[in-house]
């Protein structure tokens, strides 16, 4: 019989901008919360997975490597991985799920720690690794000042505008929904609603994306504990089953890939499960840039490709009390740039009925959490069944 994988514990540090607390301590804060949440002790952890591993490329992008965490916590790991060559952030959770299914470990700490806001505030402490010339795929972007991912996502968004008639008023609903939901999340970075007028008058960053279509650098750590189906006896919390997983990468380049990876990953998610889009009670979809969320809705089959703008128009459908509540913790646009892991964290919280004031009604049973969406994409189907 195939061993199942579950998320049994979730934890999160405070979320801030320019925090003084060391990123390793933010990580241990989140680990402690996740262990208590699952009812596990650190001695029971035998694996660690993280994305993208210790990284020196961008200051604060990933300041805590798996080696450091294993050493700090005295974990006797039988399996671990930390790397960026995964199908986006939640790819680390996929790796962990595969490891527990294969019997290589029983309980795995999966984490993502970001410290970009603090690094920007304190460049002396976290210097940019300056190289006078660009190499790798960056050599094809940097000379043209296409230096931010917003420039790359904006070009996909512009194609959507051109082909399908996406309007700013439609796209605004991703940010408006996130900001409305963030008001009920005590940890969210921004707890203030956003009006359509504010959205429409915001300054453009990279057309058609404005300031509110972008998430905001933050400092935080998010932890998910992935456990083997035959190790659930150790756990006191409600385990949430990873009912399906999918990921994709074709060409890891923002300009040579014909179209976005989310469109490959979304349909694949449904090939490993009896569940379908109609069974889903809530979606937590990557919103590093709002347009990515819209493509996930299309890719996962909640609406046809090209219909995303009309699907979210008016915002009622994706509101917390709508038929498909979206990013109920505020998404990264409101809660802060947790970089992928916040979506799986919130799905688990909602499926357990632990979301407090922002809990969606009618005891949700099935949720999708997705990360990435550009040249890389990962989707998880999570179920309380």
């Amino acid at each position: 019989m195939t061993r199942e994988a579950y998320i049994t514990g979730v934890g999160m540090s405070e979320i801030g901008v320019g925090l003084e607390r060391h990123p390793l301590l933010l990580t241990t804060d989140a680990v402690k919360e996740a262990l208590a949440n699952a009812g596990l002790t650190i001695e029971q952890i035998d694996g660690v997975a993280t994305y993208p591993g210790m990284s020196h490329g961008y200051p604060g992008f990933s300041p805590v490597g798996a080696d450091d965490l294993i050493d700090t916590l005295g974990i006797k790991a039988k399996w671990y991985c930390g790397g960026g060559e995964l199908t986006s952030q939640l790819g680390a959770v996929v790796e962990a799920a595969l490891a527990v299914k294969a019997g290589l470990a029983r309980h795995i700490i999966c984490y993502r720690t970001v410290y970009e806001a603090a690094a920007m505030k304190r460049p002396d402490e976290y210097p940019m690794a300056r190289s006078p010339r660009a190499s790798g795929y960056n050599q094809f972007f940097a000379p043209y000042n296409a230096v931010s991912a917003v420039n790359w996502v904006a070009q996909y968004a512009m194609r959507h505008v051109h082909r399908y008639g996406l309007t700013r008023e439609q796209l605004a609903q991703i940010a408006l929904t996130g900001r409305a939901n963030g008001c009920l999340n005590p940890r969210a970075l921004v707890q203030k609603p956003l009006s359509m007028d504010e959205y429409l008058s915001a300054r453009m960053i990279s057309e058609p994306l404005c300031l509110f279509d972008c998430d905001r650098y933050s400092d935080a750590s998010t932890v998910l504990i992935v456990s083997a189906g035959d190790a659930l006896g150790d756990v006191t919390a409600t385990p949430i089953r990873i009912a399906s997983m999918a990921g994709s990468v074709n060409r890891l380049s923002w300009d040579q890939a014909e179209w976005m990876a989310s469109y490959d990953t979304g349909p694949d998610l449904w090939t490993h499960t009896d569940y379908g889009p109609k069974d889903v009670d809530t979606v937590q979809l990557y919103d590093g840039f709002s347009f990515l969320t819209l493509t996930w809705l299309e890719a996962l089959g909640f609406c046809d490709i090209g219909e995303g703008g009309r699907f979210i128009e008016g915002g009622q459908r994706i509101a917390r009390d709508g038929e498909l509540p979206l990013n109920t913790f505020g998404g990264q646009i409101s809660a802060g740039r947790l970089h992928g892991f916040g979506f799986a964290h919130e799905a688990v919280v909602q499926l357990r009925g632990d979301a407090g004031e922002r809990q969606i009604a009618n005891s949700p049973k099935v949720a999708v959490a997705a990360s990435g969406g550009g040249p890389l994409a990962t989707a998880l189907l999570l179920a309380n069944d």
């Binding site: 094809f140 000379p143 070009q155 990279s206 057309e207 058609p208």
Partner: protein
């Protein structure tokens, strides 16, 4: 010294970044299967042949998509400017990210015909797109 961050030249990319000195847009081409490989690599991504070499291609194409960037990402960066993904004529499967220059950013549209010109910065000749007509 150039205001732009320039590519580090190596044996694979040198022809692409310096072909503009002779007014040529050089892309890696496979002598066995007749397809183009970009970014340049020492092996064909379609047939794994190592019989690849830079070849001059047509400098015309079409704006596949674009964005107008308004955010100055570093001090003294002039904004707004247009970033575009150009699909070259007769080079299927290759897109070039570039700036569309020589026009008001608000004039650019998907489908615009462009011609690649070159802007010299030190030892590098950056291919840039210039509009040669409206959308077809």
């Amino acid at each position: 010294m150039s205001e732009r961050t320039l590519p580090r030249l190596d044996p694979n990319n040198r022809a692409y970044w310096t072909g503009g000195e002779r007014g040529e847009l050089m892309l890696h081409h496979c002598g066995d299967c007749d397809r183009y490989i970009h970014p340049p690599k020492p092996v064909c991504r379609y047939c794994l042949s190592e019989n690849v070499a830079p070849k001059a291609v047509a400098k015309t194409g079409v704006v596949d998509t674009y964005t107008v960037n308004h955010q100055p990402w570093k001090p003294n960066m002039a904004v707004p400017f247009v970033l575009a993904r150009v699909a070259l004529d007769d080079v299927p499967g290759v897109y070039l990210t570039t700036n569309v220059v020589g026009c008001d950013p608000s004039e650019v549209a998907i489908g615009d015909r462009v011609c690649m010109i070159f802007e010299q910065h030190d030892d590098v000749y950056l291919p840039m797109a210039q509009r040669v007509g409206g959308a077809e």
